[in-house]
Symmetry: C2
Subunit: 459 residues, 2 copies
């Protein structure tokens, strides 16, 4: 008999205390891509370290990297017969632009109805805080049933630049039986979900250079190749009429969807109407021959994340721009490799780019896709925990997003990740008015209490 | 015998006085496209009005329009047997962005070597001031040989929005035998030039709308049509492989180049090397079957003047942008009509744009192309004046730029424009570090003194 009920009781009595802690955490604008927020990054890392220490976690350390620190800690008092769970999280957040589309300050959290609004509140400070809250509920009501390790990074939103290197150099420190990573999410508030597949990422910046400076479009129009037009040609050629990506060899290493997996994804019953409602687009789009759910989770994509050239202010300016730029990223599936995609993009550009311009391609970040086991003891313990909190068994889903640390941990330390978390598809992560569904969040804390108790092995 | 030599003498002794006046004029940041500079526009108009008054010009008036004022004035004391010359100019300037590429403050004029730097110093405050300086040199040394009218607008750089309407409503005020418009330029500092053809313009803004807000590219990549990609497809399709514009019917009303005109343009002997040097591009580009000079002056074009979508800051942000925008403009030749081009672009978009997005097309401004007579008495008087100042006869050229007021004046008041001026192709107009070649400018003032004396008819 364990203290599970007492811990759940503690959680239900301390919801506002948990939320206050989260509010402090999300008030720190720890935007990892912006050098101006370096101090906030440091502050968020320190707040996490202090919280761990206050929970009785030992050897709490801020490890400097070439950019943002990684926080580790451990609690190894459950005995050697008990498993060790590595908790992964990131304390950095996405930028807030376009800031004018936010209904409130992104770093002054506020509740409206059942939702709580702030940058990072769903992705993923809320998920980190739910995990720490569940741990606190157990710590304050008895002995912790399993051993714990923690690794929190500050560069996830910019591609976990130094995480793989850190893991490689600290294999012993991170050694564990399983990693719990709550950076995935649920398909809707009623349906607990376990993510067993993640897409990888390869992120690029392409710059096309034309004339030495902006030119008068009257004096030079018809003589000089417009770099914005060249960039548009390049981008346009990256997809064919069937929505397939044309980079040479792009699909060569793509693992085809099995019939079994297609059947499982179909069972999720996420209709196009759901996606239409979430996005407000007039019609969906994508690669021919696949359903929306298949395209999102199990097929690679190429997206234009941003584009800039010439005059973009009010009114008119008659110039031929000196240069044009695009941010381009691919979501990858097993067994694609981001470095291979870089080579494929290079080959495409070498073939496509005309001699009338110069260009520059930068590889900004990337990571491989991953598929996790769903029949391990630990994964089943999480499934049972979700069922206990929601009253229904979880669905299993491949997710369109990318979590590069999952393959990093698998390859270096040999530890599998359980991908959970309580974010919802309409939380507006990476977008204005990011929010967290509070009833789901509180239920998630309960599920995590069950999870840690479920992990305890018979002695 | 006229006072020509005395006037020229005055000009040569007052170069620094003329330049000081120009410096005051270009120090006013009269950027017409930017509402924040409305006061500067007013200030520049007032400075012109004050200058005219100080020269003895009568009935000087600032006419309000829906946007920026038009300045007029007249001097009709040369007698009815003498021609009346309408002087056209604009006192507004282009925006200064990208400001970081300027080597100095655009509104603090400074000389370096033979060049004088400031926004508007070449286009066209310098040309307006050269004309007023020549008039002053004559006024101060004798009787003015011909009658003068003046019309200066403040909206040329944004498409002369209210000029046609003003001309239509003030036909008597502007009635003249000829218009002198120094907003054209020369092909190089050694070769005086008369522009006898101008391209027209049709300027658009196209916006493509996808999801209601930026989406996480992992969660929605492969489901939603990326608006930046749709815009790139649209733009890419606007040219074919031969560099021709694909808008339906675009070339239908294009006046073909005659053999005689092609021979005349070939005589200019502006080689591709000249254009390569002016632009620093690795190779030129344009419509197949035409030389660079032909493409620049006598063939229509379609340019992307600006493009914006999604995340364009440092680093990476994995979003599908909510929208994408392009500024698109066409340079037109006789007998194209900007309204027809608007319809052609609408037809193209209706055909090309997928059902997965919404879009919006705005027509921002436009004007027809024009061809001027080069054998009129007045045009020959200008040719003779240029030859007197430079020692060589001028070349005749069709110019790639657009001056919408030329057809406006021709259609409403029946007055032909002589297109002169002393800007050079590498003055960086509409671009950072705009400058004026001072020796050419002073020589231009001399040429204008000759011009006004040459216009005097035998009584």
């Amino acid at each position: 008999m364990d203290n599970r009920q007492t811990s759940l009781q503690f959680a239900s009595e301390n919801q506002s205390y948990f939320l206050n802690g989260l509010d402090q955490f999300v008030s720190i604008p720890s935007i990892s891509t912006d050098p101006e927020h370096a101090k906030d990054i440091q502050k968020a890392a320190q707040m996490l370290a202090d919280k761990l220490t206050s929970l009785g976690i030992e050897k709490v350390t801020l490890h400097p990297t070439k950019l943002h620190p990684i926080v580790t800690g451990e609690y190894l008092h459950a005995g050697t017969s008990q498993p060790t769970v590595l908790i992964y999280g990131h304390y950095d957040v996405q930028p807030v632009d376009p800031i004018e589309l936010w209904d409130r300050d992104p770093f002054s959290p506020a509740t409206q109805g059942e939702n709580h609004f702030a940058r990072g509140v769903s992705d993923m400070k809320g998920q980190v805080w739910a995990t720490l809250s569940a741990i606190e509920a157990i710590m304050k009501t008895g002995d912790f049933p399993v051993n714990l390790k923690f690794v929190f990074e500050g560069e996830e939103e910019i591609g976990s630049l130094h995480f793989a290197e850190f893991v490689q150099a600290h294999k012993d420190l991170l050694k564990a039986d399983v990693c719990f990573n709550p950076d995935a999410g649920m398909i809707n508030a009623q349906t607990p979900s376990i993510i067993f597949g993640l897409r990888g990422l390869a992120y690029f910046e392409l710059r096309v250079y034309g004339p030495a400076h902006d030119l008068h479009s009257g004096s030079f129009g018809g003589i000089v190749h417009n770099p914005a037009q060249v960039l548009a040609d390049c981008i346009s050629g990256m997809h064919d009429a069937k929505g397939r990506i044309t980079l040479p060899g792009f699909y060569d290493s793509v693992l085809p969807l099995s019939d079994k997996e297609r059947a499982e994804l179909a069972r999720l019953n996420i209709t196009d109407e759901v996606f239409l409602k979430q996005t407000s687009v007039p019609a969906l789009w994508g690669e021919e021959g696949y359903t929306s759910v298949e395209r999102e989770g199990a097929r690679p994509t190429l997206e234009i994340n941003g584009m800039l050239s010439g005059f973009t202010g009010e009114g008119s300016k008659t110039i031929i721009p000196a240069w044009a730029m695009a941010k381009i990223s691919c979501r990858l599936v097993p067994n694609q490799d981001p470095q291979e995609v870089l080579e494929q993009l290079k080959a495409y550009l070498a073939e496509k780019m005309p001699k009338t311009v110069r260009y520059e391609l930068k590889y900004l970040s990337g990571g491989k896709a991953s598929i996790s086991r769903i029949d391990s003891k630990e994964s089943l313990a999480y499934a049972k925990a979700l069922e206990a909190a929601w009253g229904v068994a979880p669905v299993y889903k491949r997710e369109g997003g990318s979590i590069g640390v999952v393959p990093d941990l698998q390859e270096s330390v040999g530890v599998e990740s359980i991908l959970g978390g309580f974010g919802l598809p309409d939380d507006n992560i990476h977008a204005p008015n990011e929010h967290l569904h509070l009833p789901t969040w509180y239920r998630g804390i309960n599920a995590l209490i069950h999870f840690f108790y479920n992990l305890k092995r018979e002695e």
